[in-house]
Symmetry: C2
Subunit: 190 residues, 2 copies
Amino acid sequence: VFTKFASSLAGPESTVRVSGDQMDWEAELVVVIGVGGRRIPTSTAWDHVAGLTVGQDLSDRTVQWWGPPAQFSLGKSFEGFAPVGPAVVTLDELSEDHNRDDLRIICAVQDAPDGEHRILQDGSTSSLIFPVPEIISRLSEIVELYPGDLIFSGTPAGVGMGLTPPQYLRAGQTLTTEIEGLGTIRQRLV
Amino acid sequence: VFTKFASSLAGPESTVRVSGDQMDWEAELVVVIGVGGRRIPTSTAWDHVAGLTVGQDLSDRTVQWWGPPAQFSLGKSFEGFAPVGPAVVTLDELSEDHNRDDLRIICAVQDAPDGEHRILQDGSTSSLIFPVPEIISRLSEIVELYPGDLIFSGTPAGVGMGLTPPQYLRAGQTLTTEIEGLGTIRQRLV
């Protein structure tokens, strides 16, 4: 569990400054808490969710590995490193056509404004090591959740630091993050 | 840099549930931000400070060492694990009789309500590895600071996990944390 400081939040269509030569992507399902609480059991965890949205958990891996101990929270909290949106989709709206536990999640990059979309990540939220109810339950064992809290979940395979050789984001690229039923967010890197 | 989630905040006189058998103390000077900003130079950092107060950075070392990676932010964020107070002392008020860069900081424990105070930590804020202006400057290079933000600084030698053998807090004890010119906070452990 790591923190993205509130000052890193940004909207769905945004411009982000590349923080260094190891800026990485992580497409993530974001849970928006509607009803707060402590010690929420998994069986009722979904009742605490106002809705779901798309998030991009940008990280500076250079800063992340400062330490020891590692500095994940700082590395994830540069300005604009937590873009979310384009809307909070409520569970009833989502469930009309989709399974909230199995949503396709895709991250792609364009190297130039009119370039092709290279797929970086293509997975499903059904592969989360900790499914949403488990995340809510485990977090709320220690931390009280409040209405409006945003919980970034996990990311599919394909982040840059795991590639051989590693790949990172560069100025001039455009990153898109899409989740089935929730929409797309788009970050222009400068 | 680690996070204490907002839900761990508590007042100066409080009761805290012992989270397990490795709950540790860290007496800390807490900086209250008055004027926010990004990329604040050390030379003007004090101008961003509304005042100073006393904090106790309680940690559950068992949870902290979950992982890898380590889970400092969770370990520090149980309910009541961030008691602060008893007042925000402004810099002009403090400087009448004290040096803001050299404040004595003492942590003590009573094993029983009427027992003697055993000193656990006795140091000075002049020994901080990162002095206050440096903390503000380095943090604000990455994270935007907001008015009302609380920054826990560093702690003097003498935390429980560093002792031979290690010592931890137990139910029935009372922990007091005092900083010269700022006052005392007192936590009853149950």
